[in-house]
Symmetry: none
Subunit: 150 residues, 4 copies
Amino acid sequence: MIDYRIDRGSGVPAYVQIVEQTERALRMGILKVGDKLPTAKQVVAATAINPNTVLRAYRDMEQAGLVELRRGLGTFVTRSLARPAAEDDAPLRRELTDWVARARTAGLERADVLALVTTALDTYDNEHVHEQDSRTPGDREPNKKKEEDV
Amino acid sequence: MIDYRIDRGSGVPAYVQIVEQTERALRMGILKVGDKLPTAKQVVAATAINPNTVLRAYRDMEQAGLVELRRGLGTFVTRSLARPAAEDDAPLRRELTDWVARARTAGLERADVLALVTTALDTYDNEHVHEQDSRTPGDREPNKKKEEDV
Amino acid sequence: MIDYRIDRGSGVPAYVQIVEQTERALRMGILKVGDKLPTAKQVVAATAINPNTVLRAYRDMEQAGLVELRRGLGTFVTRSLARPAAEDDAPLRRELTDWVARARTAGLERADVLALVTTALDTYDNEHVHEQDSRTPGDREPNKKKEEDV
Amino acid sequence: MIDYRIDRGSGVPAYVQIVEQTERALRMGILKVGDKLPTAKQVVAATAINPNTVLRAYRDMEQAGLVELRRGLGTFVTRSLARPAAEDDAPLRRELTDWVARARTAGLERADVLALVTTALDTYDNEHVHEQDSRTPGDREPNKKKEEDV
DNA sequence: GTGGTCTAGACCACC
DNA sequence: GTGGTCTAGACCACT
């Protein structure tokens, strides 16, 4: 079962953090179609945020077509964002795990790693805007968040 | 000069996005001690956000000891977060650039890449909590974000 | 300015009624792109519902791509649902106005009229499912409500 | 036998939808005094909602004097809402059927049609509030919905 | 002064 | 016992 970690004081709204972490789990294949999210009550017990805040996040994801809220039953994943290339034993993933280990050993903090990756992504995207859209066909979402930048 | 990109609709407050992007530029060495941040007026022209919002971000960074606001002159970087291992021509960075290119070619979206990296970081950190703290001594910052999870 | 009427006791949630009435105004061309919806405060003054309920409705419409919430400014229509055939002086509309007058004169209540129309729509749709989809191209909405039945 | 269609996700409670659809069938003469409603079990099989929800709807209608629940036998219509002017071959109805066909052909969606009708009803009622009450004497119902607006 | 987040708690809808 | 709605009020983000 997914285990939300809310960072109060990051400035990022709690419900946004829940959505982000759920999406991440979907992309990583940790959550699959049909899986049950924790109940609002369980999330409250684990994170000390208000039940309504959890429900707000779940409702947002329902409107985005990611999950379904079934009254009396719980909240269930209805759509996968999993990528084969992101599987546990995919070569790309093994290489990344290795790279991260070396980066951390070299003294880079978590934030440094994320800054490097973001910069690398920006650089790549700037050089390839003309070639392909970053979006896989069929992956259209309403009000999709735009990407940020350095 | 750093070029802020505000993603309205991401749910993340605009001033937080400015701080995040500035920090990232500091870590990447794009901004160095003594460099001047864009004026509020310039940011407003580029992003269509309100001057007060920019000033709020700059004030937060001043409190964090990253920049200094000099009335009538502008806002200047007072502290570096640069990492040698993150330099432009560092082997780690070259490897990452290469990996990102292959990941994108393999069909991974930007969000997939970030999800993978976050997961890899979480995994690494969970396995090394006992060995070392991720924080370089003396690198303490106010408002430091805690880490999240998958 | 659109004037919401909330029917407490209809069993239909207040925020749903706001969304429905706004959509109706969009379809009728009463609201156009760029128009400002009443502020939450104004709606509260007129309907005696809670500001958060209004904001919930506005947020839902934002996610549906119908309006945009601009902090400090208000809520603005971003998409039209207007149909030329529904214009004030369109023949179809004149005929309907006339028909409604005769129906009411014949003793039919409002609910009778709505029941008749719903039934006529159902009958028509059942006979034409194969010919065309009821949806105008480009009018795609996420989580579009399914239609009901007698 | 009436065939309920529940639109989960419309925001309208399931039991309200059952009541609405039953009332509509009564007005259209599809259900007559003495007719038997489907058993809760049948409705459950057709709609995948919970038996208690169906019973809640039937109980509401019993309180409204529309039906009678006879233990062990079923639920039976006890009151008609039929209107002569709404009969299958009434001129008004034929005209409406024709109008709906033309409206749909002209590109109007189901929701457009309902918006037009609602608006026409509102307009008519606003112009005739002084002349007559829309309610036929003796047609008083508990839980009667109040009318809305554009 | 606008909308936005979050809390807290009551009550309802559904299983 | 699950999610859903609504209220009330505090505080924040933004113009």
